[in-house]
């Protein structure tokens, strides 16, 4: 089950940010963060740009996506000192025409 859901049009490029302060309360920095994306059929999707982090905030660029697809993006953030690793699952729904409040 996804932690967050966003909708975008196929051509939009979105920089999704996630603050891991609440999930990693014993850390003040993040180690090497990473992100991966899967399509609805479970295969890998090449829709993400380079992942960056600043303090406890991880930024994941989401590039152009295919209309009709639902992507599952998993953002992984290891704590800088606590030894914990937390993940945040984002669902990205791409719709060219179906928009509105979720």
């Amino acid at each position: 089950m996804a932690d967050d859901v966003i909708e975008k049009t196929p051509a939009e490029v979105i920089k999704y940010t996630k603050d891991f302060t609440d999930l990693l309360p014993n850390d003040t920095t993040i180690g090497t963060s990473a992100a991966s994306a899967l399509k609805s059929d479970g295969t890998s999707a090449s829709i993400l740009g380079s992942v960056t982090d600043s303090g406890m905030i991880v930024t994941v660029p989401i590039n152009a996506t295919t209309d009709g697809e639902d992507y599952t993006v998993t953002i992984q953030a290891p704590g800088g000192s606590s030894g914990e690793t937390r993940e945040w699952v984002l669902e990205v729904r791409t719709r060219a025409t179906l928009r509105g409040s979720l």
Binding site: A2, S40, E69
Partner: protein
């Protein structure tokens, strides 16, 4: 419709954040089974080939690990055999006798080409039970199908031409299991199958279409006897004109 369009229609009834995608996928998978339980529909037809093993009488039907690989097997239609290297198939009497009758008719070491078969749960018994050659076999069957793998994957018959049936069946599952709204589920159940279930709605339309397609594949001449008996004619004297 493509799968994402069906998902969007179902989601709108729960709120687009109201149902997790994992639950939605389950609703669609079980919804498809709800439809396919009602009959052996044309899109469920398939065939599988396998070879007999010398002196082996029974063959397991399984998604993997069995002698006959069929995922989601539902029902058998017909069974054919041929000697390896030949180009013509012969039918095997299938489902005409019960297993206890066949066990009486054949010795446990009877050899020969396949003459009869019986399906017990997901195990296929071949008679005579000790074939001496690795005959080629072809099993025609109906199997449960799955929704397209991806949102934008090419649609199958059910999603492409009967998408609302899948929407209604997914909503029935979602309202009952997820929302615990039995009254709402009853409404969608009525649209899917009518009252009693299966006699109306989309299911009735699917069954009518299934019957039309089934009629084209076979012709059965049934002689009448009793008060309704008709005069018989030699087939060589009678012209048969199948109606289109």
């Amino acid at each position: 419709m493509l799968l994402y369009q069906i998902k969007d229609i179902v989601r709108e009834h729960f709120g687009r954040m109201g149902i997790p995608t994992a639950i939605l996928d389950l609703a669609l998978a079980e919804g498809r089974k709800l439809i396919e339980h009602e009959s052996n529909f044309w899109w469920m037809e398939a065939e599988a080939t396998f070879n007999l093993v010398v002196d082996q009488a029974d063959y397991d039907i399984a998604a993997s690990g069995g002698e006959i690989t069929i995922p989601n097997f539902k029902d058998a239609q017909a069974l054919f055999w041929r000697t390896t290297g030949t180009t013509f198939w012969d039918p095997v009497a299938f489902g005409e006798l019960t297993k206890d009758d066949l066990d009486l008719l054949y010795n446990t070491d009877s050899e020969g080409s396949p003459e009869a078969a019986y399906l017990q749960n997901k195990k296929l018994y071949i008679y005579p039970p000790a074939p001496q050659l690795t005959y080629d076999m072809k099993l025609y069957y109906w199997g449960y199908t799955s929704n397209p793998a991806g949102n934008t994957t090419a649609a199958d018959e059910l999603t492409n031409n009967w998408g609302m049936a899948l929407v209604y069946s997914a909503l029935i599952w979602g309202y009952e299991i997820y929302l615990k709204d039995m009254q709402g589920a009853t409404y969608w159940r009525g649209l899917l199958g009518g009252q009693p279930f299966g006699k109306g709605g989309e299911i009735a339309k699917l069954k009518r279409e299934n019957l039309k397609r089934g009629w084209r594949s076979r012709m059965v001449l049934v002689p009448h006897q009793g008060p309704g008996r008709i005069n018989f004619q030699r087939l060589t004297n009678m012209q048969l004109y199948p109606r289109r």
